[in-house]
Symmetry: D2
Subunit: 260 residues, 4 copies
């Protein structure tokens, strides 16, 4: 019978002895592109230019790990400690990356895109639009995502992201918006909160024209090397079914060192 | 009370305004290392040299996508089509990467490590050890993993991986073992099966001294950009709750093209 | 050290040789209560009366299975076919129960609770409140959940649920609301849509004073026996990594039969 | 085109306005069978007799909850605390039910089935077969599953299960085997370990002729009401992203009470 189930996809064509991702035979890509370029190609359909590649790479590196306390890491280690296969442990960790953990990137991106639209629609400058946004959130008793951190008052990852954005030509409207919101929070709410790493990633992903719905996935992909290292440490070095304290652990690895 | 729950980790140290992965402040790594280097650092505790980085990067690229039919992709798209958040769709896709899908890498690695040990213990050359291995598997009616493919009789990804292994100095004993097993299969079983991409990745990961238990995770990480692209395509372009035919789709993306 | 991590839970107390769920030693519950009563006790803290137990049991039975085409079943079978452990297959199936699959129960419950509130706040009768609701949804181009089905024009599960609700004393305001919405859809939109099984479950769960956030979980728990049967059939009877057609299968089990 | 994808299933037939599970229209089952009967029907294809229903129901109740410390509960609460949807939290909890958590049921079942086969093949009595089994495990330095507990020296759930098995006619060879293994451990290893709840469930599931591969799923299904109650408590009563201590919590619910 003819099928009404037939459908179309535009990502990868597979033929005998040929696999083409967005038109490129994989073997041509191997050795030529790095992971960030592959990610960009898979999602956007074109390879990024050199500057976009560098910026995206830095975003991925910025979130590689944050110790054993984040809930995604604890969930992954907890599952690993029960004798789970590695993919189950990673899946559980990924299920913990949501609104309150990693999710601030998506929320901040939506704010920044809204503020930009507001600037365009109502002819506001960045300061005015940021001020209105902060006032509106405050009145509605809604959170402002991407500012403040439980631990870091001046996050070096944020500073580095914005420094690279500047160098690579990505310090555009969205970075300005993120800084203007910081000032507006100080002025209107009276708190001098830093832009956190989520807020900085959000601003730069907006500069890269990324849809907010992918933000969570970028964070997941960025965090996987760290998550996997924790799962592997749990499996290799820890007793099965141990009780995993969420904060009472110490670091016994390589001391701080400089990159050559 | 003093806690017997106290534990140690050697991956990342987090202090106020400083996050050090394996000793390196993240901001020093950002812009300096790519994703493959970050993955290697997180797992091994040291940065890879330039050749290892290239080899690992090529492995990751080799598995970036294989169209819409692999069960991980179908599981991820199926979940995405129900209105799931992106992380749920990715988690479901990852749960489909097991013994029969992606898992051949781990199984092939264990075979190759076993054959190497056998060579050392019993003073066999590679041909003799491979022959004994194939005979033993045949007698026990066990699968030999990493050979043959439903679709590809000469997988260009395998050829490229071994070509790069040669150039970069990773064509060592394990690559020889994988080739010797191919010959032994032909001789003993009478089938001329190609080394498939799983077998080639397995041989090269052995060269990189990777523990088999991580093979599944490497495949997961390699495949995530493709899986995410499928999830995003499903969410963006497809009707919710559609019936997803596992093979009856056509590719309507960019035609085959050369990399500049 | 004293810990600020100390917290409280009111579900189960575990002591050496005694496990008390909501105050009851488990061994006293064993043999005395069925699964539906245990579910109610765990969530509400008290055992249900006989009528509530029967009603809840009927809801659970009503969703036990719906063949192999629902995305949760396909996701679970797809994962199972890759050699996954059973828990991974079930987890993947559960991840497919979302807004568009099973989720209509939660959405319909929220509508029914809203309509009830509207009746109380504005002194409207059920017909007027249902009419306003349908008009409002139509104007806002929003879905009305719980009505119509791709396959069933008169769902026997809905009829049975309302019949039992009548007998057991749960045909209250929410059931009336669900019927009034059906009439209002006919009048205002001109479509004679049946209340589907999701809508019927929603109305009855409102009668049982269930919070909407638990609706998804009730559907998950109700569907698990069916999902597990599919996973077990896939593992026992089907070839690993087969391509699973989402609709082109036939039923070859026991023919229709009467319950004694 | 004709499709080679066509397949068969024997669980549920869905027609317009009729859903038949194992031949029975669902509406006939609603109000007539409880959850345990539905589970048995879905898996086995026939309804259980009254005694089997009671026994299976008691097994499900026996594992309904064990406080907040089991890793499945911690994983589910950890994921819930990040703002996850309920199905994600349950999926993560289920992913934590593995070899070391819940998995002892499957392992014990396999031991008991092996011992039984050994009795038949070699004409051994239960004591001799159990003794050989314990000796063999000891020599191979392998675990014996289903005996001993970190907390319970005389588990009331085990006692109740065996008492019910006696009453209902399920105290057969497998229960005898489980007791003989207990004696053999005392004699050979010199430890007086109790049969734990996993071991007792295993023995009774063997009596019910359950395949070991389903044991994990039975535990999952049994535990879901408790897991859901924990997830709901976490969402309703706890601060998002709190640090969840795995043991330092107190029970503040209903005090111990008698069932009427």
């Amino acid at each position: 019978m003819g099928s009404d189930l037939t459908w179309k996809t535009s990502i990868t064509k597979v033929e005998p002895n040929n696999v083409m991702v967005r038109g490129y035979p994989i073997q041509d890509l191997m050795g030529k592109i790095d992971y960030a370029e592959g990610l960009y190609l898979a999602l956007k359909g074109e390879l990024p230019d050199e500057k976009t590649k560098k910026m995206l790479g830095a975003i991925l590196t910025s979130s590689i790990d944050h110790g054993a306390s984040p809930p995604s890491t604890l969930a992954a280690r907890t599952v690993a400690s029960t004798g789970a296969p590695v993919n189950s442990a990673l899946a559980a960790g990924i299920l913990a990356i949501n609104r309150y953990h990693g999710g601030a990137i998506e929320d901040a991106m939506m704010s920044f895109y809204d503020i930009k639209k507001h600037m365009e629609t109502d002819g506001l400058d960045v300061k005015a639009a940021a001020t209105e946004f902060v006032k509106k959130q405050r009145q509605a008793k809604k959170m402002i995502f991407g500012y403040g951190h439980r631990m870091h008052t001046a996050d070096p990852r944020q500073a580095k992201l914005f420094e690279m954005a500047e160098e690579l030509g990505f310090r555009g409207t969205y970075v300005e918006i993120s800084l203007a919101v910081k000032e507006a929070i100080k002025e209107i709410i009276g708190k001098d909160l830093p832009i956190n790493v989520d807020g900085a990633i959000a601003a730069v992903l907006c500069e890269l024209d990324c849809p907010p719905i992918l933000a969570n996935a970028f964070f997941i992909i960025a965090r996987l090397p760290g998550m996997l290292a924790h799962v592997y440490e749990e499996i290799s070095d820890c007793k099965p079914m141990r009780k995993i304290h969420p904060t009472d652990y110490t670091y016994d690895g390589t001391p701080e060192r400089k990159l050559d």
